[in-house]
């Protein structure tokens, strides 16, 4: 047993432990993520940049600088431009729907009712399921052979003859959008929920007393005040959708024709399946400035209203 040290006197005899040094702790906690990011994000990214400017392919993996040749090739390629357009349209449509449904869901989740915790948990499930798995279950749902949806639509007169959900361009695209929306809505709802919960209760009540009905409160108060959060949810969802290839690959394989081909899937197709690593890398790299510009642009755009949306940012504590 050790004696109790005299109170109030610094215990000079003991050395400071390693964990007492904040500099060390900072590094200790940061290191795993630094290693992780370097190995799985930074290194592949640099490799992609390098490949994009080379004529590397799987048959001859030697590195020879090729300048902008890969880029020139893909810019001349119709499939690339179609895929780019489809990707943008798909992402835009998905995000509009995700925000719309997310907002509804967020309001449902915020409402106080019995058993809201199980409901909240269930609602989050689509997000926690691995993309490929959920895409496979969706294919089973929508496919012509075993699908329960197909005969229902056939009975309802929506589908005729040899047409199937995943086999006709507009329907196939709609299916891909549906899966993305299904998958991303819970996440958006949770983000939007945080935004809605951050609106001071007084402000909503003031609007009710000021005579505003539901729609005026929604468009005059709620949406303007949650706009920054809506944008965050949309940008985040867009980045995930834009860069996702699993859904398209599992659900339609890019077909019918190339009607649901998206850029990441095309990059994979060119780079891995066709073995043209240079072109694949160039396509993949093309996404990067596009996403970056999109994200920066949108975040800039909400910066200014956010500046005015101080809500709780300043002001005296009561």
């Amino acid at each position: 047993m050790r004696g109790v040290p005299a109170r109030g006197r610094p215990r000079a005899g003991e050395k400071a432990r390693l964990t007492d040094r904040e500099g060390f702790l900072a590094w200790a906690f940061l290191l795993p993520s630094v290693v992780y990011l370097t190995a799985l994000v930074a290194a592949p990214f640099c490799l992609t940049v390098a490949f994009a400017f080379s004529d590397a392919n799987s048959a001859a993996p030697s590195y020879r600088f090729a300048g902008l040749r890969n880029f020139r090739a893909i810019f001349r390629d119709d499939v690339f431009w179609r895929a780019l357009g489809d990707t943008l349209a798909l992402t835009g449509l998905s995000m509009a729907l995700v925000v719309f449904f997310g907002m509804i869901l967020a309001n449902v989740l915020l409402a106080d009712f019995r058993g809201k915790w199980p409901v909240r948990l269930l609602v989050l499930l689509p997000w926690t399921t691995p993309v490929a798995l959920s895409a496979i279950s969706w294919r089973w749902l929508l496919d012509s052979a075993y699908s329960p949806v197909d005969p229902i639509l056939r009975d309802a007169g929506v589908l005729h003859g040899g047409a199937s959900l995943l086999g006709r361009p507009p329907l196939a695209t709609a299916s891909v959008v549906a899966v993305h929306v299904w998958r991303l809505t819970p996440l958006a709802a949770v983000i939007l929920m945080a935004g809605l919960a951050a609106i001071p209760r007084d402000v909503g009540e003031a609007a009710r007393l000021d005579g505003a009905g539901f729609w005026r409160r929604l468009f005059g108060v709620t949406i303007p005040l949650t706009l920054p959060v809506i944008v965050v949810a949309a940008v985040f969802g867009a980045a995930v959708t834009f860069a996702d290839m699993a859904v398209v690959r599992v659900l339609t394989g890019g077909g019918p024709g190339a009607s649901t081909q998206v850029l990441p899937a095309l990059a994979y197709h060119r780079g891995v399946e066709d073995g043209d690593m240079g072109q694949g890398a160039a396509i993949a790299l093309f996404l990067f400035p596009l996403l970056l510009a999109g994200v920066i642009g949108v975040l800039r755009a909400v910066r200014r209203p956010e500046d005015a949306n101080d809500g709780e940012a300043d002001g005296e504590e009561p």
Binding site: E205, G211, D310
Partner: protein, 363 residues
Amino acid sequence: MRGEPAGSERVGAAVKAVEARGLVKVYQGARKERVRALDGLNLTIGHGEYLVLLGPSGCGKTTLLRTIAGLEQPTEGEVHIGGHLANGLPPRLRRVAMVFQSYALYPHKTVRHNIEFPLKAEHVPRHMRERKVRWAADLLGIPHLLGRKPRHLSGGERQRVALARALVREPAVFLLDEPLSNLDAKLRATTRDELRRFQQEIGTTTIYVTHDQDEAMGLGDRVAVLDAGRLRQVGTPRDIYDEPADTFVATFVGSPPMNLVSRGDRLVGFRPEHLLPAENVAYDSRVTMPLRIDRIEYLSGDRHVYGSVTRIGLETRVIARLPATVITPLTVGETHEFAVPADRLRFFDAEYGTRTAPVRIGG
């Protein structure tokens, strides 16, 4: 209708601006406990009256205000506004305007759009809206702020904007929920004065919630003292102060509070300012008591004398407030003969705290 004069219980009384009848509000707290925020509350407010709800925090005064506003539904009882039953009506149909403690301005809207919002909700045509916004802004002296957003305003300015927003709709009743509590002490005093002048100018019925007795006594035509969801007393500030209905009101109002000395089954109460050295109290009708002085504070010209008295009841610690005009020399540690004019004594039931008839105390 019950509001019609013929059917009214008070013959000849005009329709009241706001009437609460037997209001009960029960909150379901965590762990199945139930909180009775309002416990059978009756209150009437006349047209153009300035009524202050005063009480400690958690006494139900804000709940009462929110129930009148329609933000809360009463568990039992009725709210009548302008003679009409308002239970179940949404806030927007009640013609009430509320100023929140936090002011609850729309942070993304300019001052102009904040004030205009209630008018837009009522589909007032644009030229009328502009006139009314201008009128409200002029009345509150904020026309130069119309283009700004709330975050660029000081606390006092925000409060004016909140008032202007409440004002433009010309509501039947103003509800103010501790509107001064976010202001610093100096601004609070001047704003209190302005609030009163402003209400006299427009003459709208006002219900004002506060826990600050100075605000309550200074602002109210009548003050309603609440505790634990029940109304303790309603009356003019003078009534509340001079004729408290029970020991709660007696000790809650007044600073320092009323002294209460236990005497048998009664409590004898007297205000600190009425307890003076005996030589300063008229000889013919006074009650004297020896006071052993523990401490003397010198506060803005007054002397606050702390000590304990005996003889009129159990030995009790009391406070005497001696105005600057009383120059009797007093020192800590001595026992001095003090006295209270007999008509200043108040008597309360020792068990229930309610006011009782006076008792003769030989002095």
